[in-house]
Amino acid sequence: METLAMHISNGIINGPVAAAFAALALVALALCVARGRQDLDDRLAPMAGLVAAFIFAVQMLNFPIFTGAVSGHLLGGALAAVLVGPWVGALCVAVVLIVQSLIFGDGGVAMLGLNITNMAILGTAVAYLLIALLLRILPRTVNGLAITAFVASVVSVLVASQGFVLQYWLGGTTDVGSSLGGLAGTMAGVHLLIGIGEGLITATTVVTVAKVRPDLVYALRSLRPIPAANPAPVGGGAR
């Protein structure tokens, strides 16, 4: 069993494919920056920072999965999408990846485009689409929100892991031939487990925040009628 990690390090994918995905990530991030600026107000700015800090801390924990040799970590795309929306959410995950690659050498700098595409862009986009859909279908209850957060996490982690398989198929530096199917299977299996763990954490966190400060949950904003005079809550609050 090999250890698979979502952070692609230097040399796993060849130069041209890495460059192509870097260009893709750059365009996507530029769009997120443009759209995210409109979202980032006095309430969202500290939330974005905290979400990024939370993801940063959580990505440090590697899940040891029972068989031993396989490990992975949480991605956080779904949490970011629920709490700060798709644009700022993708930027939060991207910031985490950039800082990790610059100072921790977690994921190569030259592979940053690939990593951002998988975890920040794909992961967050899929999560947000699912959230937007599920929140409209499921009953507007605490359980509905919990299920939404859980499902979005699981699917976004799975999709992000298959993004790596796609990139490896396009430009893996070593031809693993028929093992590629095996690679896809291993990645999917491992990340299903990670996704379940991530789903539980995301659901717990989001439900707690939604119960106490529903105004902080971006995904709920457009769904409920916002009263005309809704002053931004000042710090302090319940605790």
Partner: protein, 256 residues
């Protein structure tokens, strides 16, 4: 502003590398890594050349080689894939100590190991000689969009808030009779995760509002941005390392 927010990897020294403006160090590190990655994997000598460059910079920066070696172990989980490749790879095979290994896979494993390690060493040199504040300043001066540096600034500031709140909650649990041991404390921790997030947010929001009321507008103070920005001389000094690396990469590409 509060403490310099030095991170665990920062080596507090004075050296020519420490004194370089952060933006030139970031640019040099990225350029060096790209040169390494672009090198064909068969050119073993080129990777030796890069290693010499790393050792030279470490010596100038007064960063110990032992520290570099220990810290670079963090990449281990990320490159273990390299050790599987000789078995997974297809094509021509050789037998070594009774193991059937794929030649392409061996090269692939070496490729990941060498480039991954050099990349980690380069980023450790950057981290060891640059504080968090300077790193963000450097990104800002490199025209990184303001929203990104803003999120990064808050992320680093709130990391301490988050860790502090987690510690306080743990003390609170213990003082109420919880007995955290190894895996069993996970349950209590997981149940408190939502509360931790909220508590950290409310503290963080107060920090943010305090900053706004003191004139924070989403950017670093002007005084920081202008003082000590890189001059042409700084750029030239820092460019020596990536230029040498590019030279090696070009030679490796030409010679094959």
């Amino acid at each position: 502003m509060g403490a310099g927010h030095a991170h665990v990897l920062y080596r507090d020294r004075t050296s020519p590398v420490h004194r370089l403006p952060p933006e030139v160090k970031i640019a040099a590190m990225v350029a060096f890594t790209i040169a390494v990655v672009a090198t064909p994997r068969e050119a073993f000598w080129a990777f030796g050349g890069y290693a010499v460059l790393v050792v030279l910079v470490a010596a100038v920066a007064r960063v110990g080689l032992r520290w570099l070696a220990t810290r670079s172990l963090i990449e281990l989980p990320f490159v273990l894939f390299a050790f599987a490749l000789p078995f997974l790879g297809s094509g021509e095979r050789i037998t070594w100590l009774g193991l059937e290994l794929s030649v392409d896979g061996l090269y692939g494993g070496w490729n990941i190991l060498a480039k991954g390690t050099l990349g980690v060493l380069a980023s450790l040199l950057l981290a060891g000689t640059t504080t968090m504040r300077d790193l963000l300043l450097g990104l800002d001066r490199l025209h990184c969009p303001q929203i990104l540096t803003q999120i990064a600034t808050f992320m680093l500031r709130y990391l301490d808030v988050l860790i502090g709140e987690a510690r306080r909650m743990r003390v609170a649990r213990i003082s109420r009779g919880d007995d955290p041991r190894f895996l069993w404390q996970l349950r209590g921790f997981a149940a408190g995760l939502g509360a931790l997030f909220l508590r950290a947010f409310e503290r963080g929001e107060r920090v943010y509002l305090a900053m706004v009321s003191r004139g924070y507008q989403g950017r670093m103070p002007e005084a920081w941005r202008d003082a000590g920005a890189a001059t042409a001389r700084h750029w030239l000094v820092a460019a020596t390392v990536p230029l040498a690396a590019t030279g090696i990469a070009a030679a490796a590409l030409v010679l094959g």
